[in-house]
Amino acid sequence: MEPLIRVTGRGVPLDRPNVDTDQIIPAAWLKNTTRTGYADGLFEQWRRDPGFVLNRPERAGAKILVSGPNFGCGSSREHAPWALHEWGFRAVIAPGFADIFRNNMPNAGLVPVWCEPAVAAALMAATTADPAAEIDVDVARRTVDCAAAGVRAAPFRLDDDARDRLVAGLTQLEVTLRAADRIAAYERARAPWLDVAV
């Protein structure tokens, strides 16, 4: 995985609450057996509207999606963060994420930037007003900056574990494989009635 220490770039405002994974990538796209090939499916239904924000030329090349509360609710499909990543996003800013989606994001190379509602609102307003406004997400320090929004080193929530992996560019699996001995020790002490194999 590529390390994600900082994400600096323009933002795309998607000013809706409860953006669900069926919108991010419709289920028809789940027929693939690969980790790539999802960019065309990103917000497929909404993109049929030529006025939809992702269709606007001035939004091309943006790295950061700014959205409303409960972003990523719905299914556990990792295809959703894969699609966002493949489109070119590296971070999503929202005043709250659905749990499973937030968990999947770092595994797909995306930073969940969970900030205070007031900060999210300021970033939403600034990116809506000015497509060229730059946002700077400091993953290591867990802060976000945006001069156009008047946001300075605003902290955001990100689990230590997710932060460390993003910054180091490590997958969860690479980290856990180091604990193989502990897993074996745990297994030896496990209650037999728990074992579905018995």
Partner: protein, 463 residues
């Protein structure tokens, strides 16, 4: 900390390595064809083995055909079914493929086999893994990278969730079901009331639910933004599990039950969040919008977005009404439907089918309405046939289909046409969920059946 919540008790017994995010052991890993191929491919690329193949069980459900059993609906589905079979064979994982007697929706077969047990940790690449929480298990959905992680290590790195108690007081009035309860709690709390938490459903009305009802309720915990939901195990749980094919037997059963009896939140346990819901006033409900929190009683009317104070919610409600082609003030009972779908991991178990059949006995679906019953598993299907429910459904004009996710997610060829309206016993009414442009209204099996007969939203009492 002396007093613990139920979740804490189970969690603590599964910590392999503590940390900011704990490494926890996974007792049961359920797999299906859609979310697992990339995980197995990752293992293969890295030359890694599956650590505990015997703790994984797979089935095909999401994109299997439900009309006949021969042909997958498209090349993509055919490939996914083939790849799952190949992966399970290569890694020695138990598979219940299409055509086998154990096949069914992954969240229906786990409990019916007795694999789903109190006090365990269960994961699956599917958000409705929450269903298994009904047995007092910590059960939650994971993404594909995490599937690979569990396959390789039988563990998962996860934050201990915050705790939330949803206490359901009173007694469900006649006619109101576990589905109505789930929709009612969602309407009261909202779709992000449970974010970051694992919800423990408790209180007399929850205790009074059957295992099927508890599964319906826990299934929809994830629609509240929660990681999952669970119910402390009790005699109802033990009675359901006893003598299931894969449940512990003999001395192991006794030891298991002794442990299971310790699984409840301590009386003075403190929850991070609490919600109290009175079941006494509950009536059959139906959703009007595009998230499961947007519901009203079947007796009610389409709400007016202008009445919502919060601008984001208001705009979302307006969008939802446009998508659903509904006008504020319309009586739900005046809204006609084109399709009625009885199925999905929320409501496709034997009790659900009995409830629908009770309404349909001696009745017919209204002209122009297409009705489908998709049992949750081959076992449910067989049991229903033994009870003659299939004949009730077919004589009422319903299609009696083979098990799978079907119209819940619409990737197996079973979809609702654009602009058509569906009363569905599934769990998500998102835009396009049942097919592009499809309009979904979530209801209980009894309401679905009554609606099919009336041709518009109705409860059994209306017929």
């Amino acid at each position: 900390m002396t007093s613990k919540t139920l979740v804490d008790k189970i969690w603590d017994l599964h910590v392999v390595e503590p940390g900011a995010s704990d490494l926890i052991y996974i007792d049961l890993h359920l797999l299906h064809e859609v979310s697992s191929p990339q995980a197995f491919a990752g293992l293969r690329e890295a030359g890694r083995a599956v650590r505990r193949p015997a703790l994984a069980v797979a089935t095909s459900d999401h994109d299997v055909p439900t009309d006949g059993r021969e042909l997958p609906p498209d090349a993509g589905a055919a490939e996914q079914l083939r790849v799952l079979a190949e992966n399970c064979r290569d890694h020695d994982i138990e598979l219940h493929p299409v055509g086998s007697p154990g096949q069914g929706i992954v969240h229906v077969i786990g409990p019916q086999m007795g694999l789903t047990r109190p006090g365990t940790t269960i994961v699956c690449g599917d958000s409705h893994t929450a269903t298994h929480g009904a047995f007092g298990a910590i059960a939650f959905g994971i993404g594909t990278s995490e599937i690979e992680h569990v396959l390789a290590t039988q563990t998962l790195r996860a934050r201990r969730p915050q705790s939330m108690a949803v206490t359901v007081t009173g007694e469900l009035p006649p006619g109101a079901t576990a589905k109505d309860l789930a929709l009612g709690i969602l309407a009261a709390g909202g779709t992000d009331a449970g974010t970051g938490t694992l919800i423990e459903f408790r209180g007399p009305a929850v205790r009074a639910l059957s295992m099927e009802g508890r599964m319906t309720l826990c299934n929809m915990a994830v629609e509240m933004g929660a990681r999952s939901g669970l119910v402390a195990p009790d005699e109802t749980t033990f009675a359901y599990l006893k003598d299931r094919p894969r449940a512990p037997r003999g001395e192991l059963w006794d030891r298991a039950v002794a442990h299971w009896r310790t699984l409840d939140s301590d009386p003075d346990a403190v929850f991070d969040r609490e919600l109290v819901f009175d079941a006494g006033a509950l009536a059959p409900r139906v959703t009007w919008g595009t998230n499961p929190g947007q519901s009203v009683p079947v007796d009610g009317v389409v709400p007016d977005p202008a009445a919502l104070a919060e601008p984001g919610e208001r705009a979302a409600a307006e969008r939802a009404l446009t998508y659903m082609d509904l006008r504020p003030g319309t009586r739900m009972r005046d809204i006609g439907v084109d399709v009625v779908f009885i199925g999905s991991c929320t409501n496709s178990r034997i009790e659900d089918l009995r409830a629908a059949a009770d309404v349909l006995r001696g009745r017919r679906v209204a002209d122009g309405v297409r009705g489908l019953v998709v049992p949750g598993s081959m076992l449910v299907r067989r049991q229903a046939e033994q009870e003659g429910l299939d004949r009730v459904f077919t004589s009422a004009g319903f299609e009696w289909r083979m098990p799978g996710c079907s119209m819940c997610v619409g990737i197996n060829g079973d979809t609702v046409a654009p602009g058509r309206r569906c009363a569905s016993t599934s769990n998500r009414n998102f835009e396009g969920r049942q097919g592009a442009g499809a309009r979904t209204h979530l209801v209980s099996p009894a309401t679905a059946a009554a609606t099919a007969v009336a041709g518009r939203f109705a409860t059994p009492a209306d017929l």
